[in-house]
Subunit: 410 residues, 2 copies
Amino acid sequence: MNAEIISIGSELLLGQIVNTNAQFLSQQLSVLGIDVYWHTVVGDNRIRILEALRMASDRSDIIITTGGLGPTMDDLSKETITEFLGMQLTIHQPSLKRIQDYFQSLNRNMTENNVKQAMFPKEALILQNDNGTAPGAVIEKDNKVFVILPGPPAELQPMFLNYVSTYLAKKTGEGIFSKVLRIFGIGESVVEELIKDLLQQQENPTIAPLASAGEVKLRITAKAASREQAEALIRPVQTEVESRLGDAVYGYDDDTMETIVLKLLRERGMRLALAESCTGGHVSDLITNVPGASDVFLESCVTYSNESKVARLGVSPDTLNKYGAVSHQTAKEMAEGIRKTSGSDIGAAITGIAGPGGATVEKPVGLVFMAIAGSDGTKTKELHLGGNRMRIKYSSALQMLNWLRLYLKK
Amino acid sequence: MNAEIISIGSELLLGQIVNTNAQFLSQQLSVLGIDVYWHTVVGDNRIRILEALRMASDRSDIIITTGGLGPTMDDLSKETITEFLGMQLTIHQPSLKRIQDYFQSLNRNMTENNVKQAMFPKEALILQNDNGTAPGAVIEKDNKVFVILPGPPAELQPMFLNYVSTYLAKKTGEGIFSKVLRIFGIGESVVEELIKDLLQQQENPTIAPLASAGEVKLRITAKAASREQAEALIRPVQTEVESRLGDAVYGYDDDTMETIVLKLLRERGMRLALAESCTGGHVSDLITNVPGASDVFLESCVTYSNESKVARLGVSPDTLNKYGAVSHQTAKEMAEGIRKTSGSDIGAAITGIAGPGGATVEKPVGLVFMAIAGSDGTKTKELHLGGNRMRIKYSSALQMLNWLRLYLKK
């Protein structure tokens, strides 16, 4: 089976927003084993929407539209699709009730134009919108499936994952279940090399590597009649992959490096404090994005100047003079200093040259030193990173968190 | 004139990347006054590329393709467009020379398949690639303009801005010049209300509001024969807008709040230190994204725990007990404490409830206090922000920077 995505909305053609819906749906359809050969973007224009529908239904089995389901005059998608299919719009009472309740819960009056959002052809299967007012729909006609989805990603994504995915999986005869392994510290090409034979043999489950910012994800996807059966298919492959990649697998599905580090700190009953120089507070920023971080995270001293390294952390001026701010020795004293002055169980420090200024022949842009101080002493580590200032800040922050993860796992 | 964008690449149809090229080109074409009615995405497949070209040339004046110009077998764009136009590919010697020089500069051998990247129909105007090996091209035939661009945004964007934009502007008869005003602290609807009459009267220059994360941008665009003439058209409109929006206009074009704050600090010869609680280091992270921040930025103490507020900043335990960590009083003592302990000219502090936990009836999620301590005493400010944890962190960080800007301007 193949599918085509028609995104409807003049804001896309004006470049006001980027078409993340097409990307999301393509990823999901690929997981379902459905080929996507075309994306089309068209404005809120009846004639051109009709042309897009005609082209799409000539060449594709599944036609998915996004956007144009709102209450205003220029939201034409549902009306035009209904016209194209030769059907009639009538009020879908349960949807109307939901929209009325929604407005009541906000203590606001529902304006008359909102009724439009509850109107669908009677042939449609209605897809409840758990995150907004405009429901979606699935309509089948002449062996073609039309899936009508709202434009806002926060409404479209859960609607697809909760309702459409299962519907389409039934069409293809089976359910689709997947597990994502999150990998840090080795590149996509090395991951592929390490599991080359598994990638070549794959059938069910399939293994798909996805490179994303600073990490690699491996999605293991099984087709099966039930979640249990899928898990039974996924488990041995996952075990094999993990035995080859070892510690590089840092988490699963929605885990992030910072949630994992905080989880390990809680498990160990340990409290963390940071001393940051080149990352400028980015490690601390990531950690405090996680709700409840304050349980185990005490503070970060972003000691950007040498004076502050001395005053806040007790780094020795001699060390700074002799070895420089970017050195094993300074990193070590920063980590020990933050641990001592904060009273934390673990003190972690990072100092480096993010550039573009500040580099010398001996100390080039991208040179970074990290240190972790604990009850069993202090360890240091040297990194050589590439890229511009932002890239060096961000990747060194992830390296620091990853090292903390490995340290805490031991 | 109208244009259509055909993005070529199977990675788009698999959802591996999002189509930022279509967005960028749409924005740029809109500025040039060229309407975009269609985006199409098609895979690296000769038959479907031909179909997309046929549809596009039936309905649009300008057809822009992106992607598929690389050296490998599955890069088919140029070959297929040349076939569609009934032309022949030959080697473009200057491009071949550039590609050879490129490989030589990297000390690498140029493989034979790279010659393909220098092949174009002799009717083509070649667009030099200043950031990669694959040149682009413009070909005119039967009153249609075909613009062929590489896929990587880092190559496509400068090629469009430096070469294609001028080419298309000549087609439309005039050049396009614009100035962006960056506005913080008032919403898009308020901005529109304040300049409603200007928006209604607009002709040349035009004024386009663009809401983006945490700020509003106003793009004033003039069509004129030269930059000087355009600037003469833009200036009076800009002056009028600025007189109405006042201090809310914080910068121009590529300015950011953090570059402006650092610039003002340098102008005043003042050094800054921060005490952050709810922002978790995000203010410091933003400031240190700017190269050379270390000139005027000393440090940030991310004092997440109460103990660290006392130990690092000298906040009184009585103040914390009596008023709580999220209060005018604590913010004030944090700002005064960081100023004193760091030896900075200005100490700025922020404390608040980012949620989802930690809220009470008196102190709801989104309550934030800021303070600035300087030689003339300490000021505090209370904010009530909406949104989730990340949103509160990020918008309170921008509020802090904006307040520093206004403080330094006085």
